[in-house]
Symmetry: D2
Subunit: 347 residues, 4 copies
């Protein structure tokens, strides 16, 4: 019953096989190999973006931070939500990569609204040279709280950004889950919706550690390469990043895995409904649920693994309501899901 994160399970066997297949002979390092070129082409095809610049890095923090630094000057500020991964979970990596840039938080719920975004943008650059200058808008799809933007939502947000000529970054650590939940194409969820640079994540969806950064206007491609290198994120044995991504694209594995994760979460939601309050609209692979402390302790004792988003394990009041985060990856078994549901229902 491992719902702690979608980085806790095994990588999909086909990704592992791809590594084995790639492990033959001699190839140029640093992305100069044929497999990397092939994968870049395939991602351009997938995104219906023949001119896009595509690069692979091994972590989501690197993907986001280098991408943002490529579109944000150090005297500018990035607009994001308070819960955004780049704000709370990257230990100032964006600020570091941007050379001292800033994040301006768009207040409100987990999902950024166009009105709140517009008001926040309007609140910057009111002091001329004195204040931070407006920089990129960063949207997380699916959000950290497991919520989904519809295509209309995305269009509305990027329209605001475009009103101010601001570039749009999409943190797509769970890009695939979102695409499957929306039933749309990668193009529809990115450049067709006004996104300038998207992270097409693989790590949380069955790969070992690889994220593709896709810049739809290739003007800043070389700058990205330099920023990647000076961040220490240009892999010498780059073929092994490429191989994972290649497997991910074969037979739409990325879709299959995301569908499976989403279905696992849906199964969980279905089972928990009535037994527990669900706090988010779980259309992807994450479910936030309310759980009284005594039950939480019982679940953990029974081997259920998940993080608390609110509250603590220890506490005086056994009936205090806590909030737990359940993340389903592709590999979680139906049995374990059912077992977890039964435990919750048993109370």
């Amino acid at each position: 019953m491992y719902f702690a994160s979608d980085n806790a399970g095994p990588l999909h066997p086909k990704a592992l096989e791809a590594l084995t297949r790639a492990n033959e002979g001699y190839v140029p390092g640093y992305g100069g190999d044929d497999l990397t070129a092939r994968v870049q082409d395939r991602i351009r095809d997938l995104f219906e973006a023949p001119d896009a610049a595509v690069y692979l890095v091994a972590t989501g923090t690197a993907a986001n931070s280098i991408a943002l630094a490529n579109y944000c000057q150090p005297f500018q500020t990035v607009f994001c939500t308070p819960l955004a991964h780049i704000n709370v979970d990257e230990c100032n990596a964006p600020e570091f990569y941007m050379g001292g840039g800033k994040l301006t938080l768009v207040p409100g719920s987990d999902r950024m609204t166009p009105d709140a975004l517009r008001a926040t943008i309007e609140g910057e650059e009111v002091r001329g040279v004195h204040g931070p200058q407006r920089g990129p808008v960063s949207i997380t799809q699916i959000t950290e709280y497991g919520n989904l933007y519809s295509l209309e939502d995305l269009h509305a947000l990027t329209a605001v950004a475009k009103d101010y000529n601001l570039p749009v970054h999409l943190d797509g650590a769970r890009f695939a889950n979102a695409c499957m939940a929306l039933g749309c194409t990668p193009a529809e969820m990115s450049w067709k919706a006004g996104v300038d640079v998207a992270v097409f994540g693989g790590t949380k969806n069955g790969l070992m550690g690889v994220e593709a950064v896709v810049m739809f206007d290739p003007d800043k491609a070389w700058e990205f390469e330099l920023r990647r290198k000076r961040g220490g994120h240009l892999f010498s044995k780059h073929r092994y990043l490429a191989a994972q991504m290649d497997a991910y694209l074969d037979d739409n594995l990325w879709m299959t895995l995301a569908q499976q994760s989403n279905a696992n979460a849906a199964h969980l939601v279905e089972g928990l409904t009535g037994a527990a309050t669900i706090r988010n609209e779980p259309k992807g692979n994450m479910v936030f649920f309310d759980v009284p402390r005594h039950l939480h302790q019982k679940l953990q004792a029974a081997g259920a693994m998940y993080y608390l988003w609110e509250g603590t394990f220890e506490g005086d009041d056994p009936n205090e309501m806590l909030t737990g985060r359940l993340v389903c990856d592709w590999s979680i078994s139906q049995d374990n899901i059912d077992k977890f549901i039964s435990l919750v229902k048993a109370g």
Copy 2:
């Protein structure tokens, strides 16, 4: 009727005379002169802090940013209010000097409350290595909105910081105005209240451009000197910074000027009372007042200079209420204050 800022008026004649007096003969550069040493000693005396490290820089942004960088690692975050000068008026200077550090905003009013500070601190470092680490607490006295912390307020805020072993920075661009408003000593408003590093501002109180950074624990003195130098803020002809500060200390000029500024503001408040709503508790030298657009336009036409904090000069509704900021420096004449009051009363 120049209420735009306390940096718009002339410097006090005694500061100018001090520059003239200092302009004799040859002295070592970069702060190696006797006058600088003398001023450092005088500030240590003033703050009753014989071990303090004292340095002069020419701008408030430099004073704040270098001070913060000296106490904040790049993977940490500074706690301040949303309205803090370091957040809205320094174009990412703190983030730049800290090497990519962050500011975490303590929500609430212009004045930080101990509860809000504690809750905000508690909200950081809940994710181990993933999130920003807790760094200094930065307090602005007098605040950007012209409000004053009492000594009790300061003690309560620094007590929270000490609970987490966080250093406390005091942005004292208007340190003198605050001291006079509180009727306390510099020591009482700084180290005795739990402040670790204070900016003792002179620029907004009648000097040309000089701020003293006072670090009560001298352990980080040399690091400050290096950070000042690499920021380009070590003046070669340092005696001219020192001379201003020397004049500032003579016969307690800093007190006289701040008392005068505060008295000017009090006079303004007295006159406006009944005629306009005052938005802050103006105990220092800044008054925020509500003004309908038509009156604002009339005041500007009559030569009154001040910035709007809310609203715009142009607008459809002549009766829309705007908020203006009136700043009094030492030099503003009673006649001009009275003239302004009359204009407001005339409506």
Copy 3:
């Protein structure tokens, strides 16, 4: 005949098997898994350093840059040779990670001499606050030019550093090759020789992409973790870094692979002797040799892959002498080496 780099060949089958073995079940991310803890312990054992802090990253640039940033303030400078990887091959990554620190080049040959190091250190900090302050000494073992420091050499260099209380960083991208060439233990080549932080490289010696950073004084361990995270180098699926390193340590695979690489280079040197001038003292796995342009063109046409260190493929003079770099990894076959030798001998 692939001598282009030791990052061009396949990873050793045992490393791949280890990845497969690690791909079971659910484990905590970000290095919180048992395998990571086990590998850290094994490296502490290998280095006979029970208190050392040990961390894994995926690239050599990350290992060097984060390690240097952990020991170098932004107002300091790192002492290294002009040919050092950190100077010429990391696109300012050290300067970036250090937050604007500097590299001061120790003049002379590829191998730093104690006298040159001392003279260079003496040349810094002669201007007080004005110049860069002395920071770490960075030594590359084996050097970029394939040369080896003896243990005596290392002791002599670190003794100079200690005279100035400067920490010593060892860029050990080819740590294993050096150890095998010297016939010494990792401890003897690191802390026993005065090294404070060593990179124990795996990527160039048969792994996919993993380097261990070993800090013999664990005081700065937490700071390293934070710097790693904010660099985007904390892997969520950390077990796959650990698995590679675990395989590397099993049955001393790191030794076997390095011995094989070194033996391959020795075989190459033996064969080339008499037929070509060798430019370095090739005790590790790199051979720099002189080759006239016409022969270079012929070798490339025959499928030999290596980089030129001096000169260019195209040129007017077919007899102009160029310098090529031949790097042997563990996997290069004797047949290919012999074939290459024959081609050179044929002229």
Copy 4:
């Protein structure tokens, strides 16, 4: 006999008078005042550059570092000489402002030669994404060692930079001395000679602390303003920077002062000739001379103030030859120069 630096003497009375004159009434801060606009226009006139962007800062380190940061990406490197102020005397300020950029040293004498510059540029960017990318060429006129580039020299150097499309920065802390020594106009020594951004220094030539940064292509003007602000170098009471510069331009005071400084140095050289070896070609205001230790000690005892460039005050051998640096500002009296000469001649 104060030859320690051109920052040790008093500022010229006319600069002080200008401060007094400027100290009237109320003006907008941060450079929004009329005097600042007027001074910017006058500098554009002086440089015959009607489109140039002109900004004032208070220190040379700020002028150089912000200017370089405006023209150098963090993954690039600046070409300068080993003795350049930006390399040895700014405590990593350029690296800091550039966000982790680098300096590449052009080997050779104090004066950069076109051949050495070309060879050094050629030595960078030979490794694609791996190495630092080529950035600005920085030339110091007059050099740190008191030497002068002829206009032909400057043309030759900037021609090399233009061959690689690299911008050219001129560190003109002693711009006026150089202009007077060459008998040329500011335009001839800057944009007409291929310079893109020049520092027109005032601090070392009789002002209190002000340097003009002149960018001949105004495209990056706004970026400069933001970088200046976030460096803490935008003065609120900007009129006092402008006033100094205004006085500097009145009746060509900048020329008069530089001519006087240069004449003082020439007088010194004339007197020392025969009595001491002069180490540089002193066409500006700096003279480097050889002095045996016993004489150096005697000179210092007699009240002569200057820095040693080579050697130390204390030492075993009274006859060891040291090198001293003598800097003449406009204010040094003929009597003191003659007295110094007599002391040297007396031996």
